[in-house]
Symmetry: C2
Subunit: 320 residues, 2 copies
């Protein structure tokens, strides 16, 4: 079958052996997959990944252990925990020490005609959610996961999001969808204009960000840059929260004294709940479709990656 493969050479679409479904797994035919910045990082050597990348997808189950799944349109949690350890049983597979991660760690991903995922990771996609919306379920789940960093008692009165990349644009939708007035600080007028269309969102170019943004109870760092954290710490209020979404491959050179002096909480935040994302999409509370930049067929998935790597690019989709 055809798949995009990362290895020593440049990414290329090539023929690879079709995957074998293991017990408890579903064999999935890819319908649409999305390119994430993590894919670009994997391409540059992050995690030492070799093989088929791709973890944002909507697909159709072609073979499964539980016949209930066969023929259904699905998305999936990318963290395939062992399912049996204390961590998996108490909290699911997101932090299972033995987990594989679709297209990122020890598991071939979705830029392929077919791939496998554990059935316990599957989430059904209702008819109301289109393929192009459903393919956002994974990054939207990650964006909605920002809401898990506070409870009703500590709900922030406003939020600042740093970074107008694909994830930042979903995070402002997640926060504004929750009724939290949100300011987005970014570098691309085109993307900021897109964000401003969402009710409850105001935007600022980084160079023009006003002093009124300071003392924010919640700041989300989604710039993917080394400077982002220091900027977040300069904007957050005493006793406030900075949510760190981006992993920077290199070490940061950062002054953390403000974190101690102002008693700030810095919270790392990664993957979220796919079912919640699908529910939010089905309810029409977040519309991700304006984020689609362009699409390529699987046969040209290498070009899709190259396109996604262009400065300022939004979501690039790959059709199965």
């Amino acid at each position: 079958m055809r798949a995009l493969v990362l290895g020593d050479a440049a990414p290329s679409v090539t023929d690879v052996p079709a995957p074998t479904r293991e017990p408890g797994e579903a064999l999935v035919r890819m319908r649409v997959a999305g390119v994430c910045d993590t894919d670009l990082q994997l391409m540059r050597g992050y995690m030492g990944f070799r093989g088929v990348p791709g973890h944002e997808f909507v697909g159709e189950v072609v073979e499964s252990e539980d016949p209930h799944w066969t023929g259904r349109r699905v998305v999936a949690d990318i963290n395939a925990g062992c399912g049996t350890c204390d961590e998996c049983r108490a909290h699911g597979g997101h932090h299972c020490p033995h987990r594989s991660v679709l297209g990122i760690l020890d598991r071939a991903g979705a830029f392929a005609e077919r791939f496998t995922v554990p059935e316990r990771c599957l989430v059904a996609v209702p008819p109301a959610v289109s393929d192009d919306a459903a393919v956002f379920a994974e990054p939207l789940a990650a964006a909605l996961h920002v809401l898990d960093t506070f409870d009703a008692a500590s709900r922030p009165s406003r939020a600042v999001v740093l970074g107008d990349g694909k994830l930042g644009l979903l995070i402002v939708r997640a926060l504004a969808g929750e009724g939290i007035p949100t300011s987005l600080v970014g570098r691309h007028e085109k993307k900021l204009a897109l964000a401003r269309k969402v009710a409850g969102v105001e935007t600022h170019l980084e160079a023009d960000a006003p002093a009124s943004l300071q003392a924010a109870p919640l700041v989300v760092e989604a710039t993917g840059s080394e400077a982002g954290l220091a900027r977040a710490l300069s904007l957050v209020a005493p006793r406030g929260t900075v949510v760190l979404k981006t992993t920077v491959a290199q070490k940061l050179n950062v002054d953390l004294a403000p974190l101690v002096i102002n008693e700030v909480r810095l919270v790392g935040s990664r993957c979220g709940d796919l079912q919640r994302a699908i529910d939010v999409l089905a309810a029409g509370r977040v519309d991700p479709l304006p984020l689609v930049e362009t699409r390529y067929p699987l046969a040209r998935a290498d070009e899709a990656l190259a396109h996604a790597g262009k400065k300022g690019a939004l979501k690039v989709l790959v059709d199965g």
Copy 2:
């Protein structure tokens, strides 16, 4: 009056004008003061402080606006907020943007015969608490403040404290006093032996720390070193909490990817509640007296600072 003064030259005890009590303030005669590592940092230029340092003390009120205070033995919250802003009214003065801080920021400190503090910062010391115990109220409050980083629902099953300095030794007492089994990792067998005398505390030399310490739900970083944070991140469990107590004057060079991948909370923690500290001392739940290394009269407070700066020194007291 006599006071220790930090300026361009080496710290020295000299004659300075007696302080004038402003409205709302109490004039306090110092009975005992303690040397904190922050004093040593101020000596090296931290905060650009000039004047009389000293923020750990027990004293006697010699003159006050409210006659209730006169003659009473007191400690005080070192953060003198304006008392009128929203922050002060909602949360007290710890994060008031206009605050002065005793012996640290815009307010002469306790290494003096007399000094002033706002009366709203005073906490009375009951007879059951000796001067030598009461002088620990400020650092003990900071240690007990670690307990504010979790609630009953997220109470950690165990804790690891990094750093066997004066603060680390109080933090293990605070945690163990709360019934949380605590492992202290340090570099000085003498200090570790002291910590081991506290019920519920086990200790390890840094070089011999066992793998079983890993995956701790709570890690407190109190080493005061640049390497401490990376070590804390390597020991904390997924979704766990690292409490950062030490401010390192220089920028840190740190890989924060584990914080995101493991969804760790990094919580800055500074000053605590003096009344709580006095209550804990009065109830005998924490005994700080084994931490006293030696004492000097105020006339030799410069020697007290020098002594406190020696490698491995514990608490050095100054008698008024």
